[in-house]
Symmetry: C2
Subunit: 199 residues, 2 copies
């Protein structure tokens, strides 16, 4: 017999399947479900079902959305002349938090990673090209992550998109605001120097 | 409008209700549910339902169990003469891991905490007294946590149970095996000195 009764064991296993949740965390979560009311458990089950039932990807930008086109693609206040390209839907939130971007988005759902077998065909680039063919977008901002995969993806996309005649830009890599130069790693510091601008 | 589509927002909220899961963690989990197959989501929902449908507390020892009495209370190989008292069902696992305890258990489902308004009436002490009235148990091992609440609970139970004529013992508090004395806090070190034993 296992350490737990079978249904508990199974719920712990399900929680463990989330990256970042270890044995202890999954056990704690299962016990919380046990301890809480049946209504609480039903609300969690309903939320899981609804997310699978009601959320689709936007056919224009691939963002997770309960409408198609999504709120950003259909908003009359968002300029279709600028498209910010991100790796994941959650990255949109990071850009939105600035409250300074009023263009549209495009979600690649990944980044190039030859080591993990992720090539251009695995990214949502096809419908980005379709959008550009409409001739409305004038600038593409590449906001992929500032790591090896994100940089490789940005370089690939820049090469692919510039010949179309659209302006392609990359978000600045440099020292974070409020940080201490003393603790900046050499890669970041080197990018900060390389991309210095006149004042 | 919120940051996310409503069903996503709601699932993030549900995940956030687990202690120890913050905004970022809950967001990550919701996106994992979105990204995984519908079958994966259904399996998680099934596991939550089964844990609520099939798991009850054992009427003898209050452990979470899919049978009543639970596996420990009904096992012919576990001695009913010793009862190890713990705060939570998960604490049973910590004792079981030693593979050296072959008695039964009793789960209090909490510890005395006047600050949080938890008094003796909030703990599962009633059916412990009932078990002792059967006259089979000869020793009670108090394995509540080695903190203020656990100690207070152990002291309270010792005073309550000793007059019944049962032997009452407390797990040893001391320096952990494999640790370095240099890093032992003074409370632990003081307990380790106090509970020293002849060699």
């Amino acid at each position: 017999m296992g350490d737990y009764a079978e249904p508990i064991e199974r719920l712990i296993d399900e929680f463990r399947r989330f990256p970042g949740i270890g044995a202890k965390g999954a056990q704690r979560m299962a016990y919380i479900v046990l301890r809480r009311s049946r209504e609480d458990a039903e609300r969690l089950r309903r939320a899981i079902a609804d997310v699978k039932d009601k959320i689709r990807t936007c056919s224009r930008c691939n963002n997770f959305s309960d409408s198609d086109p999504c709120r950003y693609c259909s908003s009359p206040t968002r300029s279709p002349e600028v498209i910010c390209v991100v790796e994941e839907p959650r990255d949109i939130l990071a850009v939105e938090k600035t409250r300074e971007y009023h263009g549209q988005y495009h979600v690649l759902h990944g980044a190039l990673s030859p080591i993990n077998g992720v090539g251009p065909a695995d990214l949502m680039i096809g419908n980005l090209l379709e959008r550009l063919r409409e001739g409305v977008a004038k600038e593409i901002i590449l906001a992929t992550n500032p790591n090896v995969e994100g940089e490789a993806t940005a370089i690939y996309l820049a090469k692919l998109l510039k010949p179309i005649g659209v302006r392609v830009s990359r978000i600045a890599l440099g020292v974070p605001v409020g940080s201490d130069l003393e603790y900046a790693d050499e890669m970041t510091m080197s990018k900060a120097l390389e991309h210095r601008h006149e004042m």
